[in-house]
Every structure is written in C-alpha cells, then in structure tokens.
C-alpha cells in the first residue's frame, strides 16, 4: 500500500511554473531519491507534501488521508485542521539548514515536540531522545547547545528530532548541501542505516549524485 500518493501536482511562483503536473507514489519501506539541478522544484515538491507550501492544483494523499485534492472544476480543497495535523504527524522533515532551536539544548530540541504532542512525561521524552542520540552517535552531546556542534552533528540532531515523533515517512530536503564535503559522509551513513531498517524516505539532493544513487543500490 502506498504511503504517499501524489497526482498531477502543479505549483507556480509568480509566473514561473515550477511543478508541471508531478505524479508518483511511494510504498512502505521504499526510498525515493529526487535528484536534479537547483531550481528544478525538488524542494518545492517536498514543501508541498509537508504542507509548508500551498499547491496550485493536484492531489496529495498521505497514509490514506487526503491532504489536498482538486475537483473537476479545478477547485483546490485542503483537509481540515485536524486531518492536516494527523497527516503532519506521519511525516518528518530534515532541512538543509538543520533549523535547530538555538536556545534549546540538544536534548530539549528533541524532547520538545514529543512532550507537547504526545504528552510524554519528561522522563519518557528524555529516554526516547537519549536512545535516538545514541543511535546518531551523539550520546555525549545531550547537554550541548547547537552552536557547539559541527554542521554534521547538528544535522544528525535534527534527524533525531524528526525521528522522535515516529514518522512513517522521513523527508530530507538537501540534507548535505549546507555541509562541508567531508561531513556529508556521516549524514549519508545515517540515511543508509535508516534505509536498512526499512524506513520509508524521500531524499532530495542536488550535487552529490553518487551517494544519492548508492542509496538506492
């Protein structure tokens, strides 16, 4: 069964047509790599799926719930708030620029959402966060602040932050583009490990074609 179903998705930015009718479906356990030059609309596609950007027309179905659909008359209909947030919980997003919260410790960056959304107790959330940090090889960084970490470490924290909400699909928006070339390896290793664990993922990349293709292989 497909987790993400995108049908005829269109998006235009002030007269520039970025997405010209994209359709695809993603099944559980699959990794979808979208590779292409910058400006080709890869990130826009991801931002439409994660509801950070409104579509112009088309249909997006995630985990059986319709996020947006377009009627025959061309009317774009978004799901109500409740459905939207339920859909949102199924998706995790890792940004190009990490977007960690600089005033929170690494631990709190990860625990904030589970505590707020799942009403986890402090202990439960901390336990979850520490296990994720362990997995990311950052067990000793729980008390650090984002500015004290390298780019690669920050990105791994942001992956842990996304995983803390147990998403069904994890989306990566150019996860290595803001990193020094020698740091991209550690992120790709994490993505690869997640792929081995049957994590369903969408990975958008521009430059490092070889690592991206090696993911599929």
């Amino acid at each position: 069964m497909s987790i993400i179903e995108v049908i005829n998705l269109k998006k235009t930015f002030t007269s520039l047509e970025v997405l010209k009718g994209i359709s695809f479906s993603l099944n559980e356990g699959e990794v979808l790599s979208i590779i292409g030059p910058s400006g080709s609309g890869k990130s826009t596609l991801l931002r439409c799926i994660t509801n950070l950007e409104r579509v112009e027309s088309g249909t997006i179905i995630i985990g059986g719930d319709t996020l947006v659909e377009t009627s025959r008359e061309g009317k774009v209909l978004y799901a109500d708030k409740e459905t939207t947030s339920r859909i949102g919980q199924r998706l995790g997003l890792v940004f190009q620029n990490f977007n960690l919260f600089p005033h929170f410790s690494v631990l709190r960056n990860i625990t904030e959402a589970p505590r707020h959304l799942f009403k986890y107790s402090k202990e439960e959330a901390t336990e979850l966060a520490l296990s994720l940090l362990e997995k990311m090889g950052l067990a000793d960084k729980a008390g650090a602040y984002p500015y004290q970490l390298s780019g690669g470490q920050q990105q791994r924290v942001s992956i842990a932050r996304a995983l803390a909400l147990h998403p069904q699909v994890l989306c990566f928006d150019e996860p290595t583009s803001a990193l020094d070339p020698e740091l991209t390896g550690e992120i790709l290793a994490v993505i690869k490990e997640l792929a081995n664990e049957q994590m369903t993922m969408v990975v958008v990349t521009t430059r490092w074609l070889s690592p991206a293709t090696s993911l599929i292989g």
């Binding site: 994660t50 005033h103 959402a113 909400l165």
Partner: protein, 211 residues
C-alpha cells in the same frame, strides 16, 4: 538638608511609581501593538502603524497634556493627574517597544518557524517557546536604551502637575535660591539608571548560554 532629602526621596518614590507602572503595562501592550503592526489584515496594520507614527512623531510632553485635558473638553470630566501620566506614558512607550519587538520577531529565521510547524507544535507554543525567548535576547540592548530613557522621561510628569523628583528639586531650588537640589536630583537619576544598566547587564549575561 535632612528635610530636603526626605522630600526628594518622596519625589523619587513618585518617579519610581511612574517608571514601574509604565513598564508593567507598556511591555505587554507593546507586544500586542507589534502583533497588530505585523497583521496580514491591511486595515489593522495601517491603523496600528498610524498610532505608532503619532506616538513617535509627537512630543511626549504634548501627549501628556492631551491625555490630561482632552477628556475634560470632550466629556466635561478629567481623570486624575497621576492616572493621566500613566496612560500617556504607557501608550507612548508601547509604541516604541512595539517597534523593538517587531525587529526582534522578524529577526528569527523563518526556517525555525517551519521546523516548529512540521514538528506539529502549535502557533501559540511556537511563539511563546521558540520565538519569544530568542526575541528577548536579541532586543535586550535596544530595550536597555529605552528603559534608561524612561527613567529620565518621568521628569516630564510635572507638566501636568505631578510632583515627581525633578519638580520637587526645582521647588526646593527656588525656595533656597540654590541649584544644589537640582544637582542632587541629577545624582538620583544617575543612581537609578546605574541600577537599570546593571540589571540589563545581568540579564544579558544570563542569556549568554547560547548563540
């Protein structure tokens, strides 16, 4: 001399009352004004912008006179002097604070707001837990400036007859044919502002744990 100091301490007490009451009301009001200024509804943002322009574009001393006398001409009754002072100071300072808040809020990278949204955190939670704590740190230096100005601006309350520190000093100076009380008042203001800047230094240090 002892009697003079006692009088001046009384005046200082009035000045401090104006100072703290102004902060108490204008700090939250400024946040509401800033939100209004950033509203996506044109009508709201234009009205708020007009208010800010008037508050920043006319002298506080004029606003004091207006707030005190306008109700008299319109309704035939006036508020008491001290209340008028507080109202005038609050609406004036809220306008300045609003612009400082706005600068701080707009300096938070959009990516963080998006990250918060994708994590499912509510708009309110994002504002109170992600945006505002960082805004406080960013705006602290400009806030320090404004609060120091407020300490000195309290002297304007005498325009509508509130006997704050400077008025008391001037009265004493006239009685004694001496400028000494004025200089003592100056020392008082200097000490008060010393406390203000020390406090801001302390807060800045406390927020220094992240960059």
């Amino acid at each position: 001399m002892g009697k003079l100091l006692l009088l001046m301490l009384e005046g200082t007490f009035t000045s401090l009352k104006i100072f703290f009451l102004t902060l108490l009301f204008s700090l939250p009001l400024g946040l509401i004004v800033a939100k209004g200024r950033m509203s996506k509804f044109r009508v709201v943002s234009s009205i708020v912008n007009g208010y800010i322009m008037i508050m920043r574009g006319t002298p506080l001393i004029l606003q004091l006179i207006f707030v005190y006398f306008a109700p008299y001409y319109i309704f035939g009754a006036s508020t008491d002097r001290f209340t008028a002072v507080i109202i005038a100071f609050v609406i004036n300072y809220a306008a300045y604070f609003a612009e400082i808040y706005r600068g701080g809020i707009q300096s938070i990278p959009q990516g963080q707001i998006e990250a918060s949204k994708v994590l499912g955190l509510s708009k309110f939670h994002t504002f109170t837990h992600i945006v505002m704590p960082q805004v406080v740190k960013t705006i602290l230096p400009s806030m320090g400036n404004e609060v120091i100005t407020l300490v000195k601006d309290t002297a304007l309350a005498q325009t509508i007859g509130v006997a704050e520190l400077f008025r008391v000093a001037q009265n004493a100076a006239a009685r004694q044919f001496s400028t000494t009380p004025i200089f003592i008042a100056g020392l008082f203001y200097f000490i008060m502002n010393g406390v203000v800047s020390k406090s801001f230094d302390l807060i800045e240090k406390r927020l220094d744990y992240y960059k």
